[in-house]
């Protein structure tokens, strides 16, 4: 399953910049992490543990100390090799239709051929089941549809890593389950590499091939492979064991 290393992080430190904050300290405190192509890494952690900051550092949106290398290249700014999918539904550009939202980044990258653009946007909208809505504008879509489109936009760029910051956290339980199983299928088929932030243990077990737990002091506390056979349901063998393990890792720290 594991391929070549695509992301190497060494001693990543991110400090507080807020002068008003009473306690000074590090949001991320010496994180080491290597990711291999094709992995689906889920990061669990209590709120405020710096998991979003971690993702934003990889995305190139934050300054940091230490090293982040993507395919050996140091991360200094955002780029299309690392595409973010945000939690907010507002991440689509409201002045562009669904298909134009998918095509626009490709145009920016220099693809001018209209037929080719259409072909790519149709292909990826099909994968997320949004092809029927390609002419719609974002304000006409439900939250789940917007997130599907955002995922299509990310995949269409064929990035090295898709960075997902709790993309399903604002969805209702049903849409959330649907999107989880579809995302898992897409991952199987396309072999994309994903880092997925969540605070939902079930989500991490269902999606991740590897699960990290971050602690409040900005360190990786646990880093395990997820041995459960996909598709995972609560009836899967070892589901309970896995859930307990992650649950106690998460809650042990909240009590500290």
């Amino acid at each position: 399953m594991t391929g070549r290393p695509i992301l190497e992080i060494k001693n990543l430190v991110k400090q507080f910049h807020d002068e008003m904050a009473a306690e000074q300290g590090n949001i991320l405190d010496g994180v080491d992490f290597t990711m291999y192509s094709g992995e689906f890494v889920c990061i669990l952690g209590p709120s405020g543990c710096g998991k979003s900051t971690f993702l934003r550092c990889i995305g190139g949106f934050e300054s940091y100390e230490g090293t982040i290398l993507v395919n050996g290249q140091k991360v200094e700014r955002p780029g299309t090799d690392r595409i973010m999918v945000f939690q907010e539904f507002g991440q689509l550009l409201p002045w562009k239709s669904v298909e134009k939202n998918v095509q626009y980044p490709l145009k920016v990258r220099g693809l001018r051929d209209k037929a080719k653009l259409q072909e790519i946007s149709d292909t990826y909208l099909e994968k997320v089941d949004m092809l029927a809505y390609k002419k719609f504008y974002p304000h006409q879509l439900s939250g789940g549809m917007k997130q599907r489109t955002a995922i299509a936009r990310a995949l269409a760029l064929s990035p090295e890593i898709v960075l997902m910051d709790e993309p399903f956290a604002s969805l209702d339980a049903m849409s959330r389950n649907n999107l989880q199983s579809e995302l898992y299928k897409i991952h199987q088929r396309e072999n994309v590499s994903v880092i997925f932030i969540t605070h939902n243990i079930q989500e991490a077990i269902c999606l991740g091939t590897r699960i990290l737990v971050m602690s409040k002091d900005g360190k990786i506390k646990m880093d395990i492979r997820n041995p459960l056979v996909k598709p995972v349901t609560p009836a899967s063998p070892n589901y309970g064991e896995m859930w307990d393990k992650l649950h106690s890792a998460l809650y042990e720290m909240t009590e500290e």
């Binding site: 780029g79 595409i83 973010m84 991440q91 409201p94 504008y137 974002p138 304000h139």
Partner: protein, 256 residues
């Protein structure tokens, strides 16, 4: 929509009715308060016997030239102030200062420096537009959600293309309201300049028509000219601006 038009139409009829009643009762001298028929006659005569039509065209040509120059400058300078912080700081101060100066107050200086040609009137029009419009555009730019900017950076937009690709459409509701304010201000600037200048070397406009009518105590004529200004304004508001709104912010579901 239809209801709204009905209300507005009924109101206009009501005002006209009151007008005619006031006239019939001779509450004011006829000289000061002409009947609707007199105004209608003056309107008709203005276009048929006199050169009101030509004057309107002349005014409109000055207005459009000033409007295009003013709008382009407002876009350019507001855009620059996003791209360069030092320029932005200075420009926003300049806007606050210059927006306070009425166009009419600049006329003595403008005449002294540039004479009484067309350029001077256009300059006054540009002055009336550029500051309020820059203010709206910059307000719009500063209210662009951080999320859109991050999406823009993520898909590889550079400093200049992010201005056209993200800031401008995202702020379009503000841009449009800036254009509306600019349009109204342009008319005011133009008419006041024309009334003070009289005829320029190449022609005379509506302002001059009003001025002449006042000198001849032809109050019906003055009202006829005001009617022309209102009529043009209404057409632009209800036809041009509505059209643009329908195909932009209302289609995109942004703004009001």
């Amino acid at each position: 929509m239809r209801r709204k038009l009905l209300h507005q139409g009924l109101f206009v009829v009501f005002v006209l009715l009151i007008w005619q009643i006031v006239y019939k009762w001779k509450l004011f001298p006829t000289l000061m308060f002409p009947s609707l028929a007199d105004i209608g006659q003056a309107f008709f005569d203005g276009f048929v016997k006199e050169e009101l039509g030509q004057m309107v065209m002349y005014s409109l040509s000055l207005l459009l030239r000033g409007f295009i120059i003013g709008m382009s400058l407002a876009f350019l300078l507001s855009g620059l102030s996003i791209m360069n912080k030092v320029f932005g700081d200075i420009y926003s101060m300049l806007v606050s200062m210059c927006d306070l100066i009425p166009g009419v107050a600049l006329i003595p200086l403008a005449i002294l420096w540039m004479g009484i040609g067309e350029e001077t009137i256009i300059l006054i029009v540009v002055h009336s537009i550029i500051w309020p419009m820059s203010r709206s555009i910059m307000d719009g730019f500063s209210s662009v959600p951080k999320l859109y900017k991050e999406v823009g950076r993520n898909i590889g937009l550079n400093q200049f293309s992010i201005l056209l690709g993200i800031y401008f459409p995202a702020a379009f509701a503000h841009v449009l309201s800036g254009i509306k304010v600019g349009w109204a201000r342009a008319w005011r600037g133009l008419i006041s300049a024309e009334m003070i200048f009289g005829t320029t070397s190449s022609g005379a406009g509506i302002g001059w028509f009003i001025f002449m009518k006042r000198t001849n105590v032809d109050i019906a004529g003055v009202f006829a000219a005001l009617l022309v200004i209102v009529a043009i304004g209404i057409v632009v508001e209800y036809v041009v601006f509505r059209f643009v709104e329908k195909h932009t912010i209302r289609k995109w579901g942004i703004g009001k």
